[in-house]
């Protein structure tokens, strides 16, 4: 049990801080809130960060990266220091697509896709979910048929964040309709400017349109724009998912939100009494604090496993389930303690934190549902972490 950073890492932290002090004035404004999108930082800033190894750190030099050995702790220190300095961090192209191409793409594909992505000249959106395929993603039905040297894509995707601004899409399509569902899928990449693609914003309960529906009508894509082999798209996608994982339910983010609520409760009053002086609100806050601290330390435990190259197991499996639930609970508490003020929204007078808490209350419920509902998460914990048997298979006729 050692919570200190070794001298090597303390030095590294000093180095990052020095860099930021010296260069933060060149940093562009804060990145857009839209998830799934690379930051809108100008290329110059991104280029500077890559040169110093603060962006695209572990991507090989020949593909535009800095080419360092993976070092989870240094990656974390970079993230912490950029956050502390309120400076927009760099990116590595797309944290789902780029690692997948580097692992499974051809040399030609790597050269074509990785450098521009890393430079921020090629942005990505993900075409996975479909209206009929949510939890059961592998049942997706958007199909691509080979016609000469081109794939012809027809169908619809949904929950495609950033589709309206992305240059490219990586997309799962059914190419082998007669194969078992997991073996009939391929992983294609193509420009969002390809004729036949229609992007329609999908407004959610918050009133915003983070997501989109994307419709494909005879969209023609060159035959070689496939990553991995025909029918292996499901397994290619799972590589991506592996990299994506952990993005949700970050315990430090949760702790920051918690501190904001604790501040609100010490600042705001009802009937002249500080909210923190209401014992029932205070006890709800304290219950959450216990859970959030537990998840924070659980996160440190997962990190330590990762640093040592160990599979964390259960401590990692529960992060999303607990993290999203805690965020939702926190937003609910913030709204409750603010009472009528907690209902304000949409730029109303007296609005607190720009309506952050109502938006989070709804968004975090969306995250509980999205990316594998809480029910699916519990199935995974039960089956993969605890070794409980799967549901017995049901015949196609089932239900």
């Amino acid at each position: 049990m050692d919570l200190e950073y070794s001298p090597e890492y303390r030095d590294f932290r000093d180095e990052v801080r020095a860099f930021l002090d010296e260069n933060k004035h060149q940093a562009p404004g804060p990145r857009g809130a839209t998830p799934g999108q690379p930051p809108n930082s100008p290329k110059a800033w991104q280029q500077l960060l890559i040169e110093h190894g603060y962006a695209a750190r572990t991507i090989p030099r020949e593909y535009g990266g800095y080419g360092a050995e993976p070092d989870i702790l240094k990656t974390r220190i970079i993230a912490e220091e950029f956050a502390r300095a309120r400076v927009p961090p760099g990116h590595s192209g797309d944290n789902r697509l780029v690692p997948t191409v580097l692992e499974l793409g051809t040399e030609q594909q790597k050269q074509w896709l990785v450098p521009p992505s890393v430079r921020g000249e090629m942005s990505w959106c993900q075409g996975y979910s479909e209206p009929g395929s949510g939890s059961d993603l592998a049942s997706l039905s958007t199909k691509a048929e080979l016609d000469g040297d081109e794939w012809v894509i027809n169908g619809q995707k949904i929950w495609t964040s950033g589709a309206q601004n992305a240059d490219m899409m990586f997309c799962l399509v059914r190419t082998e309709p007669d194969a078992p569902k997991h073996n009939g899928i391929s992983y294609l990449v193509f420009s969002m400017d390809t004729p036949g693609i229609d992007v329609r914003p999908l407004v959610t309960m918050t009133g915003d349109a983070f997501f989109n529906e994307v419709f494909f009508t005879d969209v023609r894509v060159p035959k070689d724009q496939i990553i991995g082999k025909r029918g292996e798209g499901w397994f290619v996608a799972n590589t991506t998912l592996r990299y994506e994982r952990g993005g949700l339910g970050d315990p430090n983010e949760a702790e920051n939100r918690f501190n904001r609520i604790a501040d609100i409760m010490q600042r705001e009053t009802v009937g002249g009494e500080r909210l923190i002086d209401n014992p029932i609100y205070r006890d709800r806050l304290l219950k959450l604090q216990g859970q959030i601290l537990a998840m924070k330390f659980n996160g440190m435990r997962v990190l330590s496993h990762n640093i040592k190259g160990e599979e964390p197991g259960l401590p990692r499996w529960i992060v999303k389930l607990n993290g999203c639930e805690l965020n939702h609970q926190m937003a609910g508490l913030a709204i409750d303690v603010l009472g009528e003020l907690g209902l304000l929204y949409d730029g109303s007078p007296y609005l607190r934190d720009g309506g952050f808490w109502q938006a989070r209350y709804m968004l975090d419920l969306g995250l509980i549902i999205g990316g594998g509902t809480a029910q699916i998460q519990k199935n995974m914990i039960g089956e993969r972490a605890l070794g409980l048997p799967k549901e017995p298979k049901v015949a196609e006729a089932g239900a």
């Binding site: 959610t204 109303s348 549902i369």
Partner: protein, 362 residues
């Protein structure tokens, strides 16, 4: 001994529910909400014809002179349809206060117009429950000073009924000098609340409320019952929609309702919500018939429905998966209506404290 709705009560509720189904579908709600006026005039007019606004107004004043249970049944129907019309304040709290504490002239002046749907009265009592962003409202020789926050049904109100810190109730003309009304935007676009700043604003005291908090408290009890009934209706709709979706949506070659996890979420919604109906019925009945239980039951109805409504709103959304959070489906109108009812006229923790006082525990 029959703990059930009477024939007329069922007919009343059915007639309103049936009208709203055709006259106030989601598309209509959406139009009104997006326009931001939170009052569908056609719906308002038809509800007038159905006697909704005069439900508590005596027949001698042109109303239908029914009781709070009937009003709760109407509120439930309005919540079930997320109907964008004023009701809790204008058709229930105001008539209750006028009947309790109003002078003959005041009743003459307002009750018939309320029943006829010609007048809306907004209600400003938040300061007497839990002051936020205001030092309250002071009354001196016919003038009000201070700020009333979260005044209910205030947008199109022809008059405002404002409680001063001494518990007295005052009729205020929103167009008079010394009054500024500013709309406050909330997540729920089917009802309106406003901030009302009073600077030596001319006010007309309800005589029966002078040195007597009871009219204020009875009015708040009635309002809480309406919000509870509104949540009951909204939550029932969400639960029903979840069950319907669970029967039709297929994943993994099965309708999702055949998965225990989904089935149990539906069962839990039903198990939590169904007893709430009896609680609302009893509380509304007790308000009139068993006054010594009235306050306690109104507090519990408001607090318990707030908790169950929150639970159902969440679980129903979860059962709907991703679609549950889209505007396409519009489930969020009910979700937000329930959220609104939870915080107005006292959030559950505050209301439960009043329930403790009502039984002399503190």
């Amino acid at each position: 001994m029959d703990f059930a709705l009477g024939e007329e009560q069922r007919m009343l509720q059915d007639s309103i529910a049936r009208y709203l189904e055709s006259g106030c579908p989601l598309e209509r709600v959406r139009d009104v909400a997006e326009a931001g006026d939170a009052r569908a005039d056609d719906v308002w007019q038809e509800l007038t014809n159905l006697g909704v606004h005069g439900v508590l107004v005596g027949e001698d004043y042109g109303g239908v002179g029914l009781g709070l249970l009937e009003a709760a049944l109407i509120a439930e129907a309005l919540g079930a349809a997320v109907a964008p019309v004023p009701f809790a304040a204008s058709a229930v709290m105001a008539p209750v206060a006028l009947a309790d504490a109003g002078s003959g002239e005041q009743k003459e002046a307002w009750l018939p117009r309320i029943a006829a749907g010609e007048a809306v009265i907004g209600i400003g009592v938040s300061e007497q429950i839990g002051r936020r962003e205001t030092d309250g409202v002071r009354a001196e020789n016919g003038r009000l000073n201070g700020k009333a926050m979260f005044v209910l049904d205030a947008a199109a109100a022809d008059a405002l009924l404002i409680a001063s810190d001494d518990g007295a109730l005052h009729l205020v003309d929103p167009s008079a000098n010394g009054i500024e009304r500013a709309k406050l935007k909330t997540i729920d676009r089917t009802r309106t609340v406003a901030e009302v700043v009073l600077s030596d604003a001319p006010a007309e005291l309800l005589p029966g409320s002078a040195d007597n908090r009871e009219p204020l408290l009875r009015m708040i009890d009635a309002g809480r019952l309406m919000l509870a009934a509104d949540t009951l209706g909204a939550a029932q709709t969400m639960a029903d929609k979840a069950v319907a979706y669970a029967k039709e949506r297929r994943q993994f070659n099965r309708v999702i309702g055949s998965f225990q996890a989904v089935k149990h979420m539906c069962a839990e919604m039903a198990a939590e919500l169904e007893p709430c109906r009896s609680l609302v019925w009893y509380a509304a009945h007790a308000y009139v018939a068993i006054p010594e239980e009235g306050r306690l039951m109104a507090c519990h109805a408001k607090a318990h429905l707030s908790e169950v409504g929150k639970f159902v709103a969440r679980k129903s959304t979860e059962v709907h998966g991703g679609m549950g959070i889209t505007d396409l489906l519009g489930l969020h109108y009910w979700f937000k209506r329930i959220g609104f009812n939870r915080q107005l006229l006292g959030a559950p923790e505050l209301v439960r404290e009043e329930a403790a006082q009502a039984q002399a525990w503190v």
